[in-house]
Symmetry: C2
Subunit: 398 residues, 2 copies
């Protein structure tokens, strides 16, 4: 077989030529980001004619910055881009030693922001922005990395939502062994934040890697994770709909239409789909719901609106009861309390702009003796926290 027929090495060589025809190479023989043994990271960007090149990203300690936001001045933790230094046309910046984490970054070239690193093919979209990513291993981020363990499957498929009146896209993680086994599995419904979609948790959330690793270590029970689209006016993530490769709403495209129902009203369609298409435990003790930010609000609301549906609730970085309907909410929470459940887990970063809302919400829960657990972390309204929370929440389930 080895010597056979068509010289594969020649063909591959020729196909490399084909690649050139399509300009498949980044074309630059430099390494960026270069992750060194001491966990310092060097970024490089080739731009001999640029006057300034900076790098921005979540490896930079954020600075409290006043931002004009919709005419209102608010203070936010923002990473301020750092200057890179040019030598022979290559701009460089080396970080301090970074803690183990998954990081996002981009360059600012002559003041133009959001310039991707052509030497790094790893890009993740978050809402309406795409950034390069890299991982520093040896700690927390090992949970987000691929290891030599049994791997679950990740399926993108569509389900029918009669309540909303159209088919919608959904992402589903099934644990290793699901397809060839006979067991029934519990289900975690995992919800994204405002502007996100059914790709958010599987991309920046690293859900498949986290689940694979926790299950392999025996720290979490094998379960199915359902990542639905929390925007009832959307059929699917940007680019996955009939609208084509439109500019996402948060970049000024695809104006929102008025949906026929709220996400919470339409959620029974998701459960009905999952429970008729997968071998799952169809009772409260086999269902969990958790989400970040808007998805945390969704988890709160779903769990009190359908008090016989979820025994486990995770509320990540979400504010509490506000505005109208406080009395109604309190009544629903009391009913949920009386109805019982196994876990109501609230988590928030101590510099999150929603932090005070979370504290106020827990005061309300205390007033009605509503049982919950609280996890406070460092940091703000950021994916680092949500990955950490997922990794801590999942082992408590089922």
């Amino acid at each position: 077989m080895r010597k056979i027929i068509i010289s594969l090495s020649l063909l591959v060589a020729v196909c490399f030529g084909a690649s050139a025809q399509q300009a498949l190479w980044g074309g630059q023989n430099i390494v960026s980001p270069e992750i060194k043994a001491d966990n310092t990271v060097t970024f490089r960007y080739v731009a001999p004619k640029a006057r300034t090149v900076q790098v921005s990203g979540d490896f930079i300690k954020p600075t409290k910055t006043k931002i004009n936001w919709g005419g209102r001045e608010i203070e936010m933790d923002v990473p301020v881009p750092v200057d890179m230094v040019e030598k022979d046309g290559i701009w460089e910046y080396t970080t301090e030693a970074l803690p183990s984490e998954l990081y996002s970054y981009s360059f600012v070239v002559d003041g133009t922001p959001n310039v991707k690193d052509p030497n790094n093919v790893y890009l993740i979209r978050d809402v309406a922005s795409v950034t390069n990513v890299f991982i520093i291993g040896g700690g927390q981020a090992d949970l987000y990395s691929v290891h030599d363990v049994p791997h679950g499957s990740v399926t993108r498929r569509w389900y029918s939502s009669p309540t909303l009146g159209y088919d919608r896209r959904i992402t589903i993680y099934t644990p290793a062994g699901y397809e060839t086994g006979k067991l029934k599995y519990p289900v975690l419904y995992l919800l994204h934040g405002a502007g996100g979609d059914e790709e958010a948790w599987i991309a920046l959330g690293r859900t498949a890697q986290i689940m694979d690793n926790l299950i392999a270590e025996g720290k979490a029970k094998p379960m199915i994770v359902v990542m639905t689209n929390g925007n009832p006016q959307q059929q699917a993530a940007p680019g996955e709909t009939q609208e084509g490769f439109y500019k996402p709403a948060m970049m000024g495209g695809a104006p929102a239409t008025q949906p026929k129902a709220t996400f919470v009203e339409a959620f029974p369609d998701v459960i009905a789909f999952v429970e008729s298409n997968y071998r799952v435990i169809k009772k409260k003790s086999g269902r969990a719901v958790a989400g970040l930010s808007m998805g945390g609000y969704h988890s709160q609301t779903l769990s009190m609106t359908y008090p016989n549906t979820f025994d486990y609730v995770g509320i990540f970085s979400a504010g509490g009861i506000r505005g109208d309907g406080q009395d109604e909410a309190v009544n629903l929470l009391k009913a949920q309390r009386d109805n019982g459940f196994k876990l109501y887990w609230i988590a928030c970063g101590n510099t999150d702009f929603l932090y005070q809302g979370v504290i106020d919400y827990m005061k309300k829960l205390d007033e009605i003796q509503f049982p919950y657990k609280y996890r406070e972390s460092d940091g703000g309204h950021i994916w680092r926290n949500w990955r950490v929370y997922l990794g801590e929440f999942v082992p408590m389930l089922f």
Copy 2:
């Protein structure tokens, strides 16, 4: 429900603030690419301090260009970047009216190539390069777009390859209705080119959209499409392995290791996995194999090495018999001919650098009265052709 509990609009507004905290917006209120009603396309790039900005992409008619390739001068069809014009810090270029197609592009800023468009979140990796993409509808590319039709599922999962000695990642398309039905389906094994992986056909190949649309129109039979990784030294696509977010081999990273077997030798592991995990027709009449470039070579070789396995063979833009082993190949082809099959379909672009090899291969087939069909298209060794070929090949199957 509408008035309930937590003011969703307020929460969403606040979460938009959260987005700002993460710099989720592209931050530029311009549209790029802007696709106009007459199918001209305007690209825009904000760079007030740049001296030159150009746009490159496959919408540009390629020019024959001499390239120094590994010390050897070869002539290739290469798109030459076109100059953009600056006004008020925004660089612009408008194309002629473009035929319906999926296009890739990037910017060249002050000579630095491969700069992505920050106003376009749609990026596809091809081998070791990432480019922005857009679609011009109204013709061929409607086949590559999402329509309001029943959608199949796309699953990324892992299978065990005892022959290679490790688990490997695989992408599987199942047609709409597969999960809840009882029918057995035929299978198309669809193979990528050199440097590609199990993401190639589903990303730039638009396999899921092509299959959904052809099946919905009644032009293709419902079938399962299996997209495996053709590099036996790889477990998975870049970033999906234990190696982490390494620099792909073609960018100078991840040195190839010597695999225990060739892709062709290990292929029975793929079939065994598919046939024990899916409801499929387990005979020759229910199996097709097709591939582009190196995957075309793989399809040739698989179909003659295992002459009782595939009734349908598609060879896209692949050269023919070369080097050593010609006699052995001719003997295998004669046996394959005598054994019989239903379709042997060869396709190539008339400016493909492998074109002459394809012509020579067909001469060899003619000499031994080996039956085949030939489809010649315009253009070179490019994804446009491979999407077209897939759309024409699939309706002839099963």
